[in-house]
Each structure stands twice: as C-alpha cells, then as structure tokens.
C-alpha cells in the first residue's frame, strides 16, 4: 500500500517527464525544425492550437470517440471474456473471431468500415477493434485463474450461476481486467488518432493529417503532446481506480 501511494505522488512522474523533455531539447538542436522541432516550438504550436480553439474543438470530438469505443469494448469484452473463459463451446466459436478482429489492420477495414459504419463512426469502431481483444483476453485469463476452492464453496451452498459470476468470478477477474483496461485506455488515444487520420474531417487525427501534409512538424507534435497528456491523464485515472480496488 505504501508503495502505491508513493507512486501516485506527483513528483517522480514529473521527474521522468523532465528528463524526457531535456533530452528532446538537446537532440532537437541537431535537426532542422521541420524534422524535429524543439519542445519550445511545440509548446508554441500547442498554444496556437489552444488559442485558436481548435485544440478543444477537435480534441473533444476525439475524446468522445475514444471513450465511446473504449466503453463499448469493455461493455462487450467483459461478458464475452467471461463466456469464453467459462464455456468451451463459446470459446471455440468466438476466440478466432477475437483474433481476427485483433489482427486485421486498419487499412483492410477501411473501405468496408467506411461504407458500413459511416465516416464519423470509423474511429469509434477502430478503437473498439483495438481495445476489445485486450479486455477479452485479460478477462479469459482472469476466469482461468479463479480459485477452484471458492467455486466449490459456492457450489455447495447452491449459489446461482449469475451470482457466482458477479460475486465470485468478477472480483477475482478484476485485477486482470484492470490490466486490460489500463492497456486499452492507453491504446485508445493512438487508435482514435490513427483512424481519424485515415478517415475523418475532424478530430485530433484530422488535425495531424493537415499538419503532416503541410510539413508543420511542430503542429504534428503539438497534437501528439495533446495525445500524450490525454494518455497520462487516463493512466492516472485508471491507476486511481486500481488503488481503490486494491485498498479493498
């Protein structure tokens, strides 16, 4: 317990970031800013985006899409993971499907997804498709690691299947699920940007596409920085959630 509260004090993470920034500033000196702008350039570009209102306007869209896809992935992945873990028949049917979802790259989906799902929803779909397997796989492993002694106990006292799942399986799956959620939450922001880059008019990814075409590397990195902040924020939130769970 001690460890984890320490971990979440602001200091060490900030220190890590500071080291990163210093290294970047140093290296940037050697390159043309079109290739690698300095952190200062990037911050200026970020400020420009923020002042222009773009950051918020586009960022909001991406965040909503990201969270929607992520929420969908958790909402579907958890029950499917439980089912696969519990039932060998379902496993046979759906495991390949999970792998298929996981392996197919964005470009292969693109045409189909654009036509089926519609443009604005492609990023949601892409986030779903990238994070869903993480949730499912971790849930499966969690189910497999459940203490058999407790299951026997529940069986003797004739606890109903649905209560066993909620009250015996889920609490034991929780740490696995948390790992899955933590990993998925990080991936979400990358996936949403990537999908927007390929398919959409608005959102962080679209902003990045424009910056890339115009060789505006500072703006590209400003968007990236925004993503990183999103990622760190999300990670912090998930860590809080985990601590909450662990305290119990």
């Amino acid at each position: 317990m001690k460890n984890s509260t320490f971990l979440n004090r602001g200091l060490p993470p900030l220190f890590g970031l500071a080291v990163l920034l210093a290294a970047w500033q140093l290296v940037a000196g050697f390159y043309n800013p079109v290739v690698l702008p300095s952190p200062v350039d990037v911050l200026r570009a970020l400020a420009d985006l923020a002042v222009g209102g773009q950051l918020w306007e586009q960022g909001r869209l991406s965040i909503i899409r990201g969270l929607a896809g992520f929420a969908l992935a958790v909402a579907c992945g958890l029950p499917l993971g439980l089912l696969i873990g519990l039932n060998p028949f379902v496993a046979g049917l759906f495991r390949p499907l999970v792998v298929v979802l996981q392996v197919i790259p964005l470009v292969s989906w693109l045409l189909l997804a654009l036509i089926w799902i519609g443009f604005s929803k492609v990023p949601v779909f892409v986030v779903f498709v990238t994070t869903f397997p993480l949730i499912v796989i971790n849930t499966i492993q969690g189910v497999w690691s459940v203490d058999r002694q407790l299951l026997q106990m529940a069986a003797v006292f004739r606890i109903t299947k649905s209560r066993v799942i909620r009250e015996v399986y889920l609490p034991q799956v929780a740490p696995y699920l948390m790992a899955g959620i933590s990993a998925a939450m990080g991936t979400t922001w990358k996936a949403v940007a990537m999908a927007e880059l390929f398919s959409v008019q608005k959102g962080i990814g679209a902003g990045m596409a424009v910056a890339r075409m115009n060789l505006n590397t500072a703006a590209l990195l400003a968007w990236t920085l925004f993503l990183v902040c999103l990622g760190l924020l999300a990670d912090w939130l998930v860590a809080q959630l985990m601590l909450g769970k662990r305290k119990m």
Binding site: V35, L114, I115, F198, V210, M213
Partner: protein
C-alpha cells in the same frame, strides 16, 4: 453499383436545382478554386459543401456510397472506379503535371545522372511511382539501375529538407516547401515537359473531378452551372494566386507564401470531360501498358467522359 445514392442526388424533378452540392477535395492545389466558389456562392443560391479528405480510401468510399456529388481524384483512380462499375463520369480535368524531380546533388541534371543512386518516391504503385519508372525507362535506364525507395511524400520532403535524402520525386506544394527550406535543393526535371518530350503533344492529366451520374441525370443544369463556375474560379486562382492564398491558408492551414510560390509550378487548367478525353486516354493507355491494375484492367469507354 454503389448502394443507393444520398437523397439530394435522387430527387426526381429533372430540371430542378439541388439544395446543395457536395464536393470532396484533397489537401492540394486544385482545391483552391473551390474555396473561392464557396465564398462567391453558386448561382441560384445552391449551397456548396466541401469535404476535405485525407486519404484516397476515404474519397473512394464516399464515391461508392454516392455521398458526394463531385469528387476531385487522381485521373487513374477515377478510371479504376469507373471500370469497377461505379456509376460516375469524368467531369473535368484540372491539374496537369505537378510532379518534379528534386535533388540536392549538383551533379544530377538528367535522369541518366541518377544511375546507381537512390531515388525516393511516394507510395509504391501510385502515379508518381509509375510515371517515374516510365520516364526512367524512356531515358534508357534499365530496371534496377536506379534504386527506388518508397515512403510517404511528406516524409520524403522532410528528409530532403534535412539533407537525409538526395534525390526525390515530389508533387507540389511539397516541392515549394523543400525549395524554401533547403537552399541546396533544386528542381531538376519537370514531369510535364518530359512527358511531352516523349509522348508528343498530349498533355499529362493528373487530377480530375468525377461526378455521380445520378446527380447528372437529376440536375443536368446544375452540373453545367457548376462546371462553368469552377472553370471561372480556376482561372481566377491562376491569375490571382496572392488573393487565393489567404483562403487556402485559413481552410487548409497551408502557409500563404508556400501556396503562392507553388502556383508557379502548378499547372491548373480547366478541361471538360470530353475535351480532355484525348489526353486522358493516351495517359491511361500508357499506364495500362505499364501496370493494368492501375486503371482497372482496361481503358474506360466513351461514356466515362462527361459530354458538355
């Protein structure tokens, strides 16, 4: 073909005017006149909606779905779509050659000088790639004598700027970006002139605009009006790049000076579908020789070209 057109294009009254026209455009020079058109408005108060696309996949998806009335596309992509049974025709060709061979190496003056060197080209199998290979071959170089390396065009430009890449094939406005950021970089060859040198008088059509045939049938009048307005705006853009620049800057985030200077090397000229058919079919025929997949396996027939 397609899966049902969007409401606007399908309204039956054949002589009416549409509420709005949807045009999808790339982040590139032929888009500039359209901003002018948005500003000026279309005749009869029809609204003009622009969709800027990032990737060709996105554009083709919209064409297939019938979600755009007009789409600015590479000419060969238009042919591919047509040959796959999508109900479209080529309304006009507006961009003629925006590809250049750029080098930071003083010794490179001709294609032959590239022998034994590495040349960076945007995406494999794209028109820049095929045209480069074609011109290399026309200069008497054999396959493999120039090592072609493929990478995204923006990345190539960045690497040329930083001196990490010596020779590259780039489109405008990236050429201008490179020239402005790296004093050593020079334009060595112009694809357009080299094309004409080996093909005679045919021009090099690169980007055109396709229109959905559903739209044409519903609103023939609007198509003509749109074509006219576009031709006018295009001429205005060519004549007044400095006035067009702010529009491009606000809408595409492209720095004004870059746009103005890139217009020196961007051949924008309006040619209606049937008017361009000779150039286009000559061009497509060459591509077909080279790689049938690039045009959809065959030359498109007459109906591909929208008659005026």
């Amino acid at each position: 073909a397609g899966c049902g057109n969007r409401g606007v294009s399908d309204k039956t009254p054949s002589a009416g005017t549409p509420d709005k026209i949807i045009v999808q455009v790339p982040l590139a020079p032929p888009t500039a006149p359209l901003f002018k058109m948005v500003e000026d408005g279309l005749p009869e108060g029809t609204k003009l909606e622009l969709l800027v696309y990032n990737t060709v996949d996105e554009a083709t998806a919209r064409v297939i779905k019938g979600e755009a009335d007009f789409s600015v596309l590479p000419v060969n992509v238009a042919a591919k779509l047509y040959n796959s049974g999508i109900d479209i025709s080529l309304a006009n060709v507006n961009t003629w050659g925006i590809l250049y061979l750029v080098s930071v190496d003083d010794k490179v003056k001709e294609w032959q000088d590239l022998k034994g060197m590495e040349l960076y080209v945007g995406a494999r199998g794209s028109t820049p790639d095929v045209l480069t290979q074609y011109l290399l071959r026309r200069s008497g170089l054999k396959e493999g004598e120039v090592k072609l390396t493929y990478l995204g065009s923006p990345e190539i430009a960045q690497m040329v700027i930083n001196g990490l890449v010596k020779n590259a094939v780039l489109p405008e406005p990236l050429v201008t970006q490179v020239l402005m950021n790296n004093q050593q970089a020079r334009v060595v060859r112009d694809f357009y002139t080299d094309w004409q040198r080996s093909e005679g008088e045919t021009r090099l059509p690169q980007t055109g605009m396709v229109v959905s045939n559903g739209f044409v049938r519903s609103y023939p009048g609007a198509v003509t009006g749109f074509q006219k307005a576009y031709a006018g705006a295009l001429d205005w853009t060519v004549a007044h790049p400095d006035q067009a620049a702010p529009l491009v800057e606000t809408n595409l985030k492209m720095p004004a000076p870059v746009f103005v200077r890139s217009m020196e090397r961007t051949r924008l000229q309006f040619a209606g579908g049937s008017g361009a058919s000779k150039d286009v079919s000559a061009y497509l025929a060459r591509l077909l020789d080279f790689s049938p997949d690039m045009v959809g396996g065959k030359l498109p027939d007459e109906k591909f070209y929208l008659s005026e």
